[in-house]
C-alpha cells in the first residue's frame, strides 16, 4: 500500500521560495500532521501532493509511482477542504457520486460505496438534502464522505475542523481518529492547531518558513523538541525559555541564569560534552514546576506572583523572573489564593529540562 515521499521538493512563487529542498517520508497507515503557523508552507505542501500546484523542482512518490506530473484525479488521492467545498447545487448523494466521476465504476458499485460511506458517517437521512440545508458538522461529514467513497489509500485534510465550533471540533476530531483506526489508510492532515496534532497524529512534522523543523511522534516532539522554534510552538502555556550559562564544577553541571539561580542539569543527556561557560537557553515546561520546595529538585527559587489565570480544571500562574514572565501550571485552588506581588518558592523537577544552543537554537 502507498507510502508517500517528498524528495528534494522546491516550490517558488515568482522570486519567493516557499519550500526549499524539502524531504519527507510518510509510511503506510501513518496519520501525519503538518503543523505550523500560518504561511509556513504546510498547505502548499499538501496542494503539491494533491496536484493542485506544480512543483518547481523535486519528485513526489506515492507507493512506487512517481506522481509529480500526474493530473490530480489520477493520483489516487482524496481531499477534504477547509471550507468543505461541497457542490451547492447537488444533493448530498450527488456530491458523493461526483467524487467518483473520474473512476469508470459500474452504477451498482457506485451506489454500494455511497451507501457504505453514508452509513459509516451517519449521514444516510441527509442523502437527498442540499448542502445549504445542512449544519456545519453535517457538511463536514459529507465532505469526508466524498473523500471516503473514492476508496483510496491516501487521504488529505486541509484544516478541516477550523470552521467548526469547539464542541463539534472535539467530536469530529475523535471521529476522524476512529476512521483512521478503522480504515488503516494513510492520512496527511494540515493544521495550525496543536491540540488536533497532539491528539490525532501518529507522526507530526512541525514546519516553519518552508522548512520542516522536526519530524517525529507527538511525544517526541513535546518532550524532546529539536530546536527553539518547536519548543516555543508546542505547548500551552508555552515553554519558558531563558538564557543561561553552563558551569561545570564538582562533577555537577549547572545552568546559571542571569539572576544567579542555578539549575542542576547533571542528568541532561548532552549530545556533545558540555563546556564550561557555554551559552545556552534553558526550556522549562510550565507543568514541571511545583509550588513548594521539593526534595531533589533541579532548582528552587523565590519569585513574585504577577497574576493567575483559571480555565476551569486548569490554572496557570505567571511570576516575574528576570524581567519577563515565568508561566507555571498550578492547581486551580492554589491559583485562586495567589495575590499579585506575593513571593512564592518554586521548584523545577529534575530531568525535565530542555537545553538549546543559544547561538544555533538547536537542542544540545
Amino acid at each position: 500500500m502507498p507510502r508517500v515521499s517528498f524528495e528534494h521538493i522546491t516550490k517558488t512563487y515568482g522570486l519567493m521560495k516557499v519550500l526549499d529542498d524539502l524531504n519527507l517520508r510518510i509510511d503506510d497507515g501513518d496519520f501525519l500532521v503538518l503543523l505550523g503557523p500560518s504561511g509556513c508552507g504546510k498547505t502548499t505542501l499538501l496542494n503539491l501532493l494533491a496536484g493542485l500546484l506544480d512543483v518547481t523542482d523535486g519528485r513526489i512518490m506515492i507507493g512506487e509511482r512517481d506522481v509529480t506530473d500526474l493530473d490530480p484525479k489520477d493520483r489516487g488521492l482524496a481531499m477534504v477542504f477547509q471550507s468543505y467545498a461541497l457542490y451547492p447545487t447537488k444533493t448530498v448523494h450527488g456530491n458523493l457520486k461526483f467524487g467518483l466521476s473520474a473512476s469508470k465504476l459500474p452504477r451498482d458499485e457506485i451506489e454500494k460505496r455511497i451507501t457504505w460511506a453514508a452509513k459509516l458517517l451517519q449521514i444516510e437521512p441527509l442523502l437527498h438534502r442540499k448542502p445549504g440545508q445542512l449544519s456545519g458538522g453535517q457538511r463536514q461529514r459529507v465532505a469526508i464522505g466524498r473523500a471516503l467513497v473514492k476508496n483510496v489509500g491516501v487521504f488529505l485534510f486541509d484544516e478541516p475542523l477550523s470552521n467548526l465550533d469547539a464542541k463539534l471540533r472535539t467530536e469530529m476530531r475523535l471521529e476522524i481518529k476512529k476512521l483512521h483506526d478503522q480504515l488503516k489508510s494513510t492520512i496527511v492532515y494540515v493544521t495550525h492547531d496543536q491540540i488536533e496534532a497532539m491528539t490525532m497524529a501518529t507522526k507530526i512534522a512541525v514546519m516553519n518558513a518552508g522548512v520542516i523543523q522536526q519530524f517525529g511522534t507527538p511525544d517526541e516532539i513535546y518532550e524532546r523538541p529539536a530546536n527553539l522554534f518547536v519548543a516555543g510552538f508546542i505547548g500551552s502555556p508555552a515553554m519558558n525559555l531563558r538564557k543561561a550559562k553552563l558551569a561545570l564544577a564538582n562533577g555537577k553541571t549547572e545552568a546559571i541564569f542571569a539572576s544567579g539561580v542555578r539549575l542542576d542539569v547533571s542528568d541532561y543527556p548532552f549530545v556533545a560534552p558540555p563546556q564550561n561557560g557555554n551559552e545556552v537557553i534553558a526550556g522549562l515546561r510550565p507543568e514541571h514546576f511545583t509550588l513548594a520546595a521539593t526534595e531533589g529538585a533541579a532548582a528552587t527559587f523565590t519569585v513574585p506572583v504577577q497574576y493567575a489565570e483559571r480555565t476551569g480544571p486548569d490554572a496557570s500562574a505567571y511570576f516575574s523572573f528576570e524581567d519577563d514572565l515565568l508561566a507555571l501550571r498550578v492547581d486551580p485552588d492554589i491559583a485562586a489564593r495567589l495575590t499579585p506581588g506575593q513571593s512564592m518558592g518554586v521548584s523545577y523537577l529534575k530531568g525535565k529540562t530542555n537545553l538549546f544552543d543559544a547561538h544555533t537554537g538547536q537542542r544540545l
Partner: protein, 310 residues
C-alpha cells in the same frame, strides 16, 4: 432555493424591520414647499403618461374619429381594426404584409444570436475565471478594450466580412453580428461572476473529475442561474430594440421588427394612418415588456437565492 434560506431571509427581514430606528411620525402639514414638490412630480409623471395615453387610445380609434382631431378623447367605438391592420397588412415600401414579417424576423434573429453569444461567452468566461489559461491576463485586457469600441467604427469592415461569408442581407448576418458584438461584455460578465466561485470548489471538482466539460455542465452551469437570467434580459432587450445593426446588415430579407416599424411609419402614401402607426409601435414594444414581466420575477428570485454560498 430552498425553504431554509427562504426562512432565513424572512427572519433577516424581520430583524431589519425591528432594528430600524423608530421615530414617532411627524404630523404632516401641507406647506407651500410640499405643494411645489407634488406639482413638479405630477408634471414629470404626466410628461411620460400623456403621450402613452394618446398612443394607446389612438390605436383603438377609427380613422374617422381621428380626423375629428380630439386627441385626448376616448374612442367612440373601441376597435382592434388598427391592430389587425398593423400586424397583417400595413405597407412598408411596396410590400403590404404588415408587421408580422418583421416580428418573425426579429424572433429568427434573436434566438440564434442568444444561443451563439451566451454559449460562447459563458464557456470563455468559465475557462478564463477558473482554469489556468495561458495569456489570460492580456486576453482579458483586449476583451476589455473591445467592449468599448463603438460599433460605428467597425461597421464597414464588418459589412465586407459578412458579405464575403455570404450572410450579408440575411437574418443570419444580423444574428451573427449581434452575437459577436455582445461577446466582449458578456464574457467579462461571466468571467467576473465565476471569479467569485470559491477556489476550493474548483479544486475539489478538479480532484474528483478533472474534466473541463463535466465540471462545467455538472457543477458550474447549475450555479449560473442568476447570471444567465441577467445576461438573458440584457441580450434580449438589446437585440430586440436594436435598429442600426438590423438596418445595416438585414438588407431586404432580414429586417427586424424595428426596421419594419420605421418603414411602415415613414414610408406611406396618402393620409397618415395614425391609428395603425400607434398600434404598430405598441406591438413592437410589447415583447420586451412581456419578457420583463415573466423573467423579471425569476431575476429577483435568482439574486436572492444565493446559489453560490450554498
Amino acid at each position: 432555493m430552498n425553504d431554509m434560506t427562504a426562512s432565513h431571509k424572512a427572519l433577516g427581514a424581520e430583524i431589519a424591520v425591528r432594528s430600524a430606528p423608530y421615530f414617532p411620525r411627524k404630523k404632516k402639514v401641507i406647506t407651500g414647499r410640499s405643494i411645489a414638490v407634488i406639482v413638479f412630480l405630477s408634471i414629470c409623471a404626466l410628461f411620460f403618461c400623456v403621450p402613452l395615453y394618446v398612443v394607446i387610445v389612438t390605436s383603438f380609434k377609427t380613422m374617422d374619429q381621428i380626423r375629428e382631431g380630439a386627441m385626448f378623447a376616448l374612442p367612440n367605438v373601441w376597435t382592434l381594426e388598427a391592430w389587425d391592420h398593423a400586424w397583417n397588412s400595413a405597407c412598408s415600401g411596396t410590400r403590404c404584409e404588415g408587421l408580422k414579417v418583421g416580428f418573425w424576423n426579429s424572433v429568427a434573429i434573436l434566438i440564434p444570436s442568444l444561443i451563439l453569444s451566451i454559449g460562447l461567452s459563458i464557456v470563455t468566461g468559465y475557462a478564463l475565471a477558473l482554469w489556468n489559461v495561458k495569456w489570460a491576463g492580456p486576453f482579458l485586457f483586449i476583451l476589455f478594450i473591445c467592449a468599448f469600441v463603438p460599433f460605428q467604427i467597425i461597421m464597414f469592415p464588418l459589412i465586407s466580412m459578412t458579405a464575403s461569408l455570404k450572410v450579408y442581407g440575411s437574418i443570419w448576418g444580423v444574428a451573427i453580428i449581434h452575437a459577436i458584438l455582445a461577446m466582449p461584455v458578456l464574457t467579462l460578465i461571466f468571467r467576473n461572476y465565476y471569479k467569485d466561485i470559491p477556489q476550493e470548489i474548483m479544486s475539489a471538482a478538479v480532484m474528483d473529475s478533472g474534466s473541463f466539460w463535466k465540471i462545467f455542465f455538472e457543477i458550474i452551469l447549475p450555479m449560473s442561474g442568476n447570471i444567465l437570467i441577467v445576461v438573458l434580459i440584457l441580450q434580449i432587450t438589446s437585440v430586440w430594440n436594436d435598429y442600426l445593426i438590423g438596418v445595416t446588415f438585414g438588407g431586404m430579407g432580414g429586417q427586424p421588427m424595428t426596421v419594419n416599424l420605421a418603414n411602415l411609419i415613414t414610408i406611406s402614401t396618402g393620409t397618415v394612418r395614425y391609428n395603425d402607426n400607434m398600434a404598430a409601435a405598441l406591438l413592437t414594444a410589447i415583447p420586451p415588456l412581456v419578457i420583463y414581466f415573466f423573467v423579471g420575477k425569476l431575476f429577483v428570485q435568482g439574486i436572492t437565492a444565493g446559489a453560490i454560498k450554498g
